[in-house]
């Protein structure tokens, strides 16, 4: 399992390194190249959205670990496209039992094959209302929204009034659902907690990847850019900052893995660790990416250079799902409940 995961991650990383270097992302955001479509095509050919899905749904069965690996690698290169929302929505769809299973299965098949896309509610802590934001594209076929109580509802976007919004993060898309009363396709009973955990892990992993990706590029820049007759990377004030960023990104990455383990085991720590992973990882990533702007100096303030792409992406991640303060409250409640129930959610496998 670990070997398979490493192989999958390696293969995604190498494809993305080839197809999605910084220059390509810039061409995309400048409107010169439909990189998102190319990546969607590659994802369909290579089965990226199948990685996390259970074998019963023709997936590879890597679960939350696969979900995290995919999103982390996408985040590392700032890959454009609706992958994050889709990977979260698919996880919920294939793991729930719904009344009209055939329609849902057909939709899943289309999404995996790249002929339809899915959106999800940007925030899960608010009940659907007119004008709510979705993470996904204007062309999305359906969207997953929080439903009553612990349920989720899959809604048909075919006749929905969608307004596309221009957002700062140009690597992802958001739309506004003008009237929240849209035709439901299926109710995913009791799936809210699972979807929140998957969403949290995907956001945390994407953010860790983004932080690591821009940090690597910033370190390279610091070795090349010279001032006062020497590389700026020799200035200790800057070195110490990148050393901090490196260890903090490493800590956040461990928290993603912690959440992955608990979610995959379906244990009482799933809600606790996924909420904390999203809160801590997005906070850490915002600090790293913001400082990478500063570490670049004037070019860090230009559209032409990479740091802003990552900063905007992780700032959006930070705002998605639920506020980090709220997530820490959820984590605290989960912690209290676990202790009350006599569950040891802090134990590490040795």
């Amino acid at each position: 399992m670990d070997e398979m995961l490493a192989e999958v991650r390696e293969s995604i990383a190498s494809v993305l390194a080839e197809e999605c270097p910084g220059l390509a992302v810039h061409k995309f955001i400048d409107g010169h190249d439909p990189l998102d479509e190319r990546l969607a095509g590659l994802a369909a050919d290579l089965g990226w959205l199948l990685i996390a899905l259970p074998e019963a749904a023709s997936g590879i069965g890597l679960g939350a670990a696969g979900l995290a690996a995919l999103n982390q690698e996408l985040g590392r290169v700032g890959a454009p496209g609706p992958f994050l929302a889709q990977s979260v929505a698919l996880d919920a769809l294939v793991n729930s039992t719904v009344a009209n299973a055939d329609a849902v299965a057909a939709l899943v098949g289309e999404v995996v094959a790249g002929s339809a896309t899915l959106a999800i509610a940007a925030r899960f802590d608010l009940a659907p209302k007119d004008g709510m934001m979705l993470l996904g594209e204007c062309s999305a076929r359906a969207a997953l929204l929080p439903g009553e109580g612990d349920d989720l509802v899959l809604v048909d976007l075919a006749d929905a009034a969608l307004e596309s919004v221009v957002i700062w993060d140009e690597t992802r898309s958001m739309v506004r659902l003008q009237r929240a009363a849209v035709r439901p396709i299926a109710t995913l009973a009791g799936m809210k907690a699972r979807a929140e955990a998957a969403y949290a892990i995907a956001l945390a992993a994407d953010s860790v990847g983004a932080a690591r990706g821009i940090l690597d590029r910033t370190v390279t820049f610091m070795k090349e850019r010279e001032q006062f007759g020497r590389p700026i990377g020799s200035f200790q004030a800057l070195k110490h900052r990148v050393a901090n960023h490196l260890v903090n990104a490493g800590g956040a990455e461990q928290l993603v893995l912690q959440a992955v383990e608990h979610v995959d085991e379906g244990g009482p720590g799933a809600g606790l660790w996924s909420a904390l992973a999203k809160a801590n990882a997005t906070d850490a990533a915002v600090k790293v990416c913001a400082d990478c702007v500063q570490l670049h100096g004037g070019v860090g303030f230009t559209r032409e250079y990479d740091p802003h792409v990552f900063l905007k992406r992780v700032r959006l991640n930070e705002m998605l799902l639920s506020s980090n303060g709220r997530l820490r409250d959820c984590a605290e409640q989960a912690f209290a409940a676990a202790l009350q129930g006599g569950h040891d959610v802090l134990e590490l496998a040795q």
Partner: protein, 394 residues
């Protein structure tokens, strides 16, 4: 002996747990809180002796010196059970347990190993005399001078910050044997008995109220040449082995203790509906740090496994620098939070020895021991940036 059960993981764990429950006086923590430093050290000696009777004092050492070569997983079980029970931390034995075998096994000779390791396994206390008033982060600039006189070295100079040295029987000492060569090339590594004439130990009072460390004044102190570890002037290389042994299981135990302290602190707060649980900032910061602590525990566990699986030294050395920086920062943030949670009550000086619960200001002040000793966190950042990320030297 309990150590004989080590191959059966669950029996081993259960036996340690039961034994601690039976052996450790129930009120030890309260007694420790009230006790003086001397009483605490005496208690640690007693506890070490108890551990030795079960083969649990130095289980990670090789068999010929009193251990059983217990692997990392086994050591983690022992550390975990000690932390879980809040058993006395063996502060006075840190050098004995880690630096001494970490130095003598790779770099000492057979006589030295046979002479020093078995008594250490029974509780001889060792200290480390590396730092000097003029040589801290730049350790290699040390000046404490040793001059050869027949089969002895005659040593003059000063050492500082030597932890637990006033309780120690022996000291691992770095001295300058050749002042005329490059600074790293003229250093030697010696073993000094602490009762040698000419050695004076003066405790230094710390910010946390303890006097764990002392200054060492050496005036014509005579140390036999037989006590040279490694070759003359090759002490810097030997010292690298010592410094490498500083981290690892020690960090693991510290992290495991905090895991239980945090859990207990939270439980106790919930039980009385403590006010801070209604304070969004404090409550959320607590959760943030619970996450960071968990991350640091995972990093340490992975490092220990890499070590055991023979990962290349350069990669484990870099990982341990990263972990030192991350973990000690987390420790400091936790204690900072607890100080803020405790508010004014945390400023009342109740105890200097609370080891089984968080104590506001004491833990906060004490946390600087973590960020300064064992290579300051600034030095860790230099290492990470220069050797890890390949940024040019300034």
């Amino acid at each position: 002996m309990i150590i004989d059960l080590r191959d059966d993981v669950s029996a081993f764990r259960a036996a340690i747990r039961d034994w601690i429950a039976q052996t450790l006086p129930e009120d030890w923590a309260e007694v420790a809180e009230r006790g003086t430093e001397d009483e605490n050290v005496a208690f640690q000696r007693w506890w070490f002796g108890q551990l030795a009777t079960e083969g649990l004092s130095v289980p990670h050492w090789p068999e010929e010196y009193g251990g059983v070569d217990l692997g990392i997983s086994g050591q983690m079980i022992v550390a975990d059970e000690m932390a879980r029970a809040g058993a006395p931390p063996l502060d006075v034995y840190i050098v004995t347990l880690n630096h001494l075998p970490g130095t003598l096994i790779p770099c000492g000779n057979a006589d030295q190993r046979a002479r020093y390791l078995p008594p250490a396994s029974q509780g001889a206390v060792w200290c480390q005399g590396f730092s000097e008033p003029g040589a801290g982060s730049d350790l290699a600039s040390l000046r404490c001078r040793a001059v050869r006189d027949g089969d002895h070295y005659v040593i003059n100079g000063q050492k500082i910050w030597s932890s637990m040295s006033r309780y120690a029987q022996h000291c691992i000492l770095l001295v300058r044997t050749d002042p005329d060569v490059a600074k790293h090339a003229g250093i030697s590594f010696l073993i000094m008995d602490m009762d040698t004439p000419g050695l004076e130990v003066r405790p230094i009072e710390q910010i946390d109220g303890h006097s764990d460390f002392s200054e060492l004044f050496l005036t014509d102190v005579r140390v036999p040449v037989a006590n040279l570890v490694g070759a003359e002037n090759d002490g810097w290389r030997v010292a690298q082995a010592t410094l490498a042994s500083e981290r690892g299981v020690l960090a693991f135990e510290a992290a495991e203790r905090r895991r239980h302290l945090m859990e207990n602190y939270y439980r106790a707060a919930r039980a009385v509906n403590a006010e801070w649980l209604d304070d969004d900032e404090l409550r959320r910061q607590f959760m943030t740090l619970l996450g960071d602590l968990q991350a640091s525990r995972r990093l340490i566990r992975d490092l220990l496994h890499d070590h055991e699986n023979g990962a290349p030294h350069a990669s484990t050395a870099m990982a341990s620098a990263r972990i030192k920086l991350y973990q000690t920062t987390v420790i400091q943030k936790i204690s900072d939070l607890v100080a803020r949670i405790e508010g004014l009550e945390g400023h009342v000086r109740r105890s200097f020895h609370a080891q089984s619960r968080f104590v506001g200001m004491f833990d906060f002040l004490n946390s600087y021991a973590w960020t300064i000793s064992g290579g300051t966190n600034e030095i860790m950042r230099n290492l990470i940036a220069e050797r890890g990320l390949g940024l040019p030297r300034g």
